[in-house]
């Protein structure tokens, strides 16, 4: 049996009695980039929030390293992973303080924090931005700050929710390079939610196609999008499913 860093079983989420996710079974391998692909509004963001423990499932189980959620210390688990939101949510303070946030709440010493933040700023191409107000940056710069803020934590699992949906091609390229860099450098397991099959193909080793709250196919990204077994994926590729 394959061992997964995260596995879900019958994961279901309802809002006001309406099921957004329906009995989702998913296995994510350690150190790989996994894309959750599907049209907008099928529950990709909800799935990421459940996996990041930001919301409680209505029913079903999430296993981390094959241990059920209740067998884990929630805060310790939370600190092994982080989520970058579709619209970067930055605190109303400087770029430096934003990136240092996760390190400071972990009570890392000041010198280490400073070293890590400066290194992250260099990697995301924002050297010299330390003292700028984070909320005054452009969309692409904000998303790079959000990724730097996640990267300094060197998380085991990084969730990215449509991280390039509102960005210009240059920022898309920069962020995709960053995602690959984080995966290769820190061996971080990355789960990226996207409606862009080209992006999924460029980045992800594996992909799962989510449609109307259900995973309808999972496998190697190339195989899923070149030779899909489910007709709905083919329709999506051909642009016949409107989103």
């Amino acid at each position: 049996m394959r061992k997964f860093i995260i596995r879900t079983h019958n994961l279901t989420k309802e809002y006001d009695g309406e099921a957004i996710l329906k009995k989702v079974d998913l296995g994510l391998e350690r150190g790989r980039i996994h894309a959750i692909v599907g049209p907008s509004g099928v529950g990709k963001s909800v799935l990421l929030r459940l996996l990041n423990l930001l919301e409680e499932p209505t029913s079903g189980e999430i296993y981390f390293d094959e241990k059920a959620l209740k067998e884990n210390n929630r805060l310790e688990l939370q600190r092994r992973m982080t989520l970058v939101f579709q619209k970067p949510v930055l605190f109303n303070t400087s770029v430096y303080e934003n990136i240092a946030y996760g390190l400071k709440v972990r009570r890392e010493n000041r010198r280490r924090v400073s070293r890590k933040v400066r290194k992250a700023l260099r990697v995301v191409g924002l050297r010299g931005y330390e003292h700028k107000r984070a909320r005054n940056l452009s969309g692409g710069e904000k998303q790079r700050v959000a990724i730097a803020r996640a990267m300094v934590l060197e998380p085991e699992i990084l969730f990215l929710d449509e991280p390039t949906s509102d960005l210009d091609p240059r920022n898309v390229a920069i962020i995709e390079e960053l995602i690959k860099y984080i995966n290769e450098k820190f061996k971080t397991t990355i789960v990226i939610a996207t409606h862009n099959i080209f992006q999924a193909t460029r980045l992800a080793h594996e992909a799962s196609f989510l449609f109307e709250g259900r995973i309808i196919e999972s496998g190697r990204t190339q195989e899923i999008f070149t030779d899909p077994k489910d007709r709905r994926i083919l329709k999506f590729i051909e642009g016949k499913i409107i989103f």
Partner: protein, 230 residues
């Protein structure tokens, strides 16, 4: 019209000549109201954050009580504290009646619901994604709450200003539990009432102008301090 001009002149004379009694009254007012706002912040801000950020049974009731207490009549609070601190009252053994301590107690009761209710509104106005983001970055419950409070700091400051404005100008409670004793519990609002009663309108007006000036300076200081720091 003469009263107003004379009052203005008198206000500046009292301030510029460092009139001892005037400054005693001003400093006592600031000490009592400042301490009351500090204590009310310690109670009101955590209460507002708790009710604003967490879902629990009775949350709606607490919100309604806070909003109702917003309009607490000062004389009612004065009477309540008087009964508590009077010799036969449950806290009579503390000997606080007609002391600044009694006035601080009454003003804390007046300011807490204002600061609490406005803090509640302040934390609720922060984008919920901020909370999720903080948790996702590994913050504990307390760290997340502090982050949200930091995001709401301008609105929280407005809550402190409103609380301070309420207590520095109130007279009912100060008169009942303080007794307007010269040099001990005489604050600006009670001094104005006394001077008006005596027919010394110029002095009353002068104290009124000073009260306004101080309220303005404190508010301006509180408002601009975070901006300067930023």
């Amino acid at each position: 019209m003469d009263y107003i001009l004379t009052g203005l002149k008198e206000a500046f004379r009292l301030l510029l000549t460092f009139d001892r009694e005037t400054y005693t009254i001003i400093l006592l007012s600031l000490r009592i109201s400042g301490t009351a706002v500090l204590l009310a912040s310690c109670l009101g801000i955590p209460l507002g954050a708790l009710v604003g950020l967490h879902k629990f049974p009775g949350r709606g009731v607490i919100t309604t009580i806070l909003n109702t207490c917003f309009a607490l009549p000062t004389v009612v609070v004065g009477l309540f504290v008087y009964l508590l601190l009077s010799r036969q009252g449950p806290l009579g053994m503390l000997g606080l009646l007609y002391t600044p301590g009694a006035m601080i107690t009454a003003q804390t009761i007046l300011a807490t619901p204002i600061i609490g209710a406005l803090s509640l509104v302040a934390v609720r106005s922060v984008d919920p994604a901020i909370t999720k983001s903080a948790i996702s970055l590994g913050a504990t419950g307390i760290q997340t709450t502090l982050t949200v409070l930091r995001e709401a700091k301008v609105a929280i400051l407005a809550a402190l200003i409103a609380g301070f404005g309420r207590v520095i100008t109130e007279i009912g409670a100060a008169m009942i539990v303080g007794g307007n004793i010269r040099g001990v519990t005489r604050v600006m609002s009670t001094a104005i009432a006394l001077e008006t009663g005596k027919g010394s309108f110029s002095l009353a007006l002068a104290l009124g102008i000073i009260l306004l000036l101080i309220a303005f300076l404190v508010n301006a200081g509180l408002y601009y301090l975070p901006r300067i720091r930023e």
